[in-house]
């Protein structure tokens, strides 16, 4: 396999840059038309309303222009993508049933270790279908549902239909319309009233076939007073042709509930990562997005929180790292549509080797959202003179009784900091590493331990060769 080595990383050493031979049960043809949409729905044995939903979304996708702002998306060839691939006939329930090559893939990702450490149920996505799912029994007793989204549609049709597509309608944007037409896989989580899950729910996602689009669809419903922490870690092998990831995540956080959604995204550097993530927070509810973006060719992802009832809170923490040829355009949106709502956005971005990283966001305060507060803080670190940092915050304030602040700084690693560390006997590259780790520390410390370790290790890998 050609090693373009886009990050300045030794590909052989790059643990996540492996791939397995393709071996699939069914493979749809490239491109998209109504017949493929019908076929996907038919293959999945879906009810008529879902088929109609997909076709409606497909129709909208065709009509909707690509967004004019942000990065250039015109290089995506929507006709050169497989919209649906089914790796095995049905989801399996135990580790042993998994195909050997998939097991090998997961071994390298460290899933069994995660099991041994008694982590939460692992929903692992291999290509377009969730193939491995393990839900801890005690949670089943509590009434928690943690399924792949396709199974949830079959097993909980009414619950599913009540919420699906309500937070992100297909008409929201072109990529959401595409996802709505061809979605496959993803996680479905239902947490009953008052249930607080103290161990995070986790899923690993992978893309593993040339030109396979990943269109997973995640739906999380937190009933009043509940708590859940969902962790999605994405690592992808390196490929030579471009790939598209257009997921949709919908979250409903009801009265007094709290939901935390953590993502560590490390797509290979040819993936377009265009994700619509949105949560609705009701009275006194809290929604937290923690978003780490390292991989991909282009990431455009703006997790949003609509605070629709008084006392709702939103927190968005975002880390972006852009190396050679990468454009990280993450951010966040907080919509204050009710009085006494609060939001905090913290963004940390690092650009090196000609990469481009930044923050794009929106703080919107609707009339009547009195007593609302919002604070946005963006820090950027540029490690060489070929890289670029962008900050595009937008604040639309339609209410008088508010307090809104925004601060951003862009800087380099200061010579004083380096000199201090080196005077203490730390070598220059290690010192650089320490400073960058310190820079992202406020966000890393919010991650579960394994992810904090993984993120630090990934950053260390990305930092290799950045000195001298």
């Amino acid at each position: 396999m050609a090693t373009t080595n886009p990050l300045g990383i030794n590909v052989e050493k790059y643990k996540y840059g492996f791939f397995e031979p393709e071996h699939y049960v069914f493979k749809a043809r490239k491109g998209l038309d109504a017949a493929i949409v019908n076929e996907i729905s038919h293959m999945k044995g879906e009810p008529d309303w879902m088929r109609a939903f997909r076709l409606h979304a497909y129709e909208h996708f065709g009509r909707r222009p690509l967004p004019k702002w942000g990065a250039d998306l015109s290089t995506i060839n929507f006709d050169d993508i497989y919209y649906y691939i089914k790796p095995t006939e049905k989801p399996v329930s135990s580790w042993e049933e998994l195909p050997a090559e998939i097991k090998r893939t997961y071994d390298r990702l460290g899933i069994p270790e995660a099991e041994k450490k008694f982590l939460a149920g692992v929903g692992a996505q291999y290509d377009s279908e969730v193939v491995y799912h393990n839900l801890k029994q005690e949670w089943e007793k509590l009434g928690v549902v943690f399924l792949d989204t396709d199974s949830a549609l079959k097993q909980y049709p009414d619950l599913f239909r009540e919420y699906f597509g309500t937070v992100v309608p297909p008409e929201d944007n072109k990529l959401a319309a595409l996802n709505s037409a061809v979605w496959s896989g993803g996680s479905f989580i239902y947490v009953p009233e008052g249930v607080k899950l103290d161990i995070p729910l986790q899923a690993y996602f992978r893309i593993n076939a040339k030109n396979v689009g990943q269109f997973e669809r995640t739906l999380i419903i937190c009933e009043p007073g509940s708590y859940v922490h969902y962790v999605e870690g994405c690592t992808a092998p390196i490929y030579t042709s471009d790939s598209l990831h257009a997921a949709v995540v919908e979250i409903i956080v009801k009265e007094g509930a709290r939901c935390r959604y953590t993502t560590i995204q490390n797509w290979s550097t040819n993936v377009y990562n265009l994700v619509t993530k949105r949560a609705v927070a009701y009275r006194d509810a809290t929604m937290e997005w923690i978003d780490g973006n390292l991989g991909s060719k282009l990431t455009m992802k703006y997790p949003s929180v609509y605070m629709v009832e008084p006392g709702a809170k939103a927190e968005i923490l975002s880390v972006a790292f852009a190396g050679h040829g990468q454009h990280q355009d993450p951010g966040g949106k907080v919509i204050h549509a009710a009085p006494h709502t609060q939001s905090v956005i913290v963004s940390k971005s690092i650009a090196k080797d000609g990469g481009r990283a930044g923050y794009r966001g929106l703080v919107k305060i609707y009339p009547g959202a009195a007593g609302s507060r919002s604070a946005v803080r963006c820090d950027a670190l540029i490690l060489d003179d070929r890289s670029r940092s962008d900050t595009y915050p937008t604040m639309e304030i339609d209410e008088e009784d508010v307090s809104i602040t925004h601060e951003a700084t862009v800087s380099k690693v200061s010579d004083e900091q380096l000199f201090y560390l080196m005077s203490r006997g730390v070598k220059e590259d290690e010192a650089m590493n320490m400073i960058v780790r310190g820079f992202v520390e406020p966000i890393v410390k919010e991650l579960p331990l394994e992810y904090a370790v993984e993120l630090n290790r990934l950053i260390a890998l990305e930092m290799e060769g950045s000195v001298g």
Binding site: D385, R386, T394, M395, S403, I404, T405, A408
Partner: protein, 408 residues
């Protein structure tokens, strides 16, 4: 309104009539015609464009306006000046100093092809100020120019061009105003500030249209090595004001201070776009825009700091503070950064809040009426900015404007 014969239409024949009327040299007439052709070819911006998202021009019908070359516009006083300094209306300068005007007028700073409104300006400019300061000449008296509109349906294209040669120093105060009324007018001003190496230019613009004026304009400065540009833009009037204020820092050691004051009432709409463009190393920019909005007025601050590759050791600051005085008023803030160099310090901050009730309560507990307490707090809001203006007359005038806007 009835179009009388001296009025000139905004079309190609109007361009020719205008040039005829001022007995312009052929090059200027050709310049105007080229600009008009560009204006014809360029589309009217729509809200589908990110730059124009927040200002809707669909109700602007340029055909409804006409030119009136009699609109007073130009230098408002002519004090004794050091030898070599040229301070004249632009039309006069075209006659007396054609080479200088030809070298600088809409050539290398603002150009007609940039947009529909720049092109229209190039075609229909009238009046305005030409200020030329020779090398190492220090003009110690602040100079002033003015534009005054008093007739309905008029379209005005005033042009201010300052060329400050190396090591020179000058201050210009531009005043834009109109008679009060509900009648409409259209203003498309262009201000070009050429600040050569080591020169210092201070430019103050105060806009107080009391009629329903739509203004779409630009102030752009080019700042050379070790040069300094100070701009202060004060906006109080008009129905729609859309302005770009841009500093291009092109030589090492150049610096730009950009100050802005805005106070909206009723349903006024202000859409300000600022640019701090660092193209050379060791450049410095410092922006502070303070906006107060009441009633149903709306302000938009959209600021950009762009640091080009190689512009190392840059210092760039940008601060936008908004004070919302009524439920129903709106203030949008969009402070952007695009940074392509790494050895720099770049910071921006934005804050939007309402009157602090605790401050008001404190003042009222000391015996002030609420209305006076509010005035005091608003004065305090702007004081931080006024303190940075070393022109006592300007400070006082702006203070009075703020007081008037409070009760307007």
């Amino acid at each position: 309104m009835t179009a009388q014969t001296p009025f000139i239409a905004l079309d190609r024949s109007g361009v020719e009539a205008l040039s005829e009327r001022f007995a312009e040299p052929r090059w200027m007439r050709e310049f105007r015609l080229r600009a008009y052709a560009a204006a014809e070819a360029l589309p009217m911006p729509t809200t589908a464009e990110e730059e124009w998202r927040r200002t809707d021009l669909s109700s602007l019908n340029l055909r409804a306006f006409h030119l009136d070359p009699a609109v007073p516009s130009g230098p408002s006083a002519r004090p004794d000046l050091p030898p070599g300094v040229i301070f004249a209306s632009l039309a006069q300068a075209v006659r007396d100093h054609p080479d200088l005007v030809r070298e600088h007028f809409m050539q290398h700073c603002v150009r007609p092809e940039e947009s529909k409104f720049r092109a229209l300006h190039g075609a229909f400019w009238t009046g305005g100020v030409f200020l030329y300061v020779p090398e190492r000449v220090d003009v110690t008296v602040p100079l002033s120019g003015a534009v005054w509109i008093q007739s309905a349906g008029v379209a005005v294209f005033p042009h201010t061009l300052i060329v400050a040669e190396p090591g020179s120093k000058v201050t210009l105060l531009d005043d834009f105003g109109s008679m009060a009324g509900s009648w409409e007018a259209f203003v498309d001003p262009v201000v070009e500030l050429v600040v050569r190496d080591g020169a210092t230019v201070r430019y103050v613009s105060r806009q107080d249209w009391l009629a329903a004026v739509t203004e779409i304009g630009i102030v752009r400065g080019r700042v050379g090595r070790d040069a300094q540009l100070h701009t202060l833009l004060a906006d109080f009037g008009g129905r729609i004001t859309r302005r770009n204020v841009e500093s291009l820092l092109e030589g090492p050691g150049g610096s730009s201070e950009m100050l802005g004051v805005l106070f909206g009432h009723n349903s006024q709409h202000f859409d300000l776009h600022t640019l701090q463009e660092h193209r050379a190393p060791h450049t410095h920019s410092d922006l502070l825009y303070k906006n107060a909005v009441k009633d149903r007025s709306r302000s938009v601050f959209s600021g950009m700091i762009r640091v080009h590759q190689g512009a190392q050791k840059t210092n760039a600051f940008q601060a936008n503070r908004n004070l919302i005085l009524s439920a129903g008023a709106k203030a949008d803030s969009i402070p952007n950064l695009e940074i392509m160099a790494n050895d720099l310090r770049c910071t921006h901050g934005s804050a939007t809040s309402r009157l602090n009730e605790e401050h008001l309560f404190y003042l009222m507990s000391r015996g002030l009426r609420r209305v006076d307490a509010v005035r005091m707090v608003v004065e305090g809001f702007f004081a931080e900015l006024f303190d940075r203006v070393p022109l006592p007359g300007v400070r006082m005038a702006l203070q009075q404007d703020i007081d008037r806007k409070m009760v307007q």
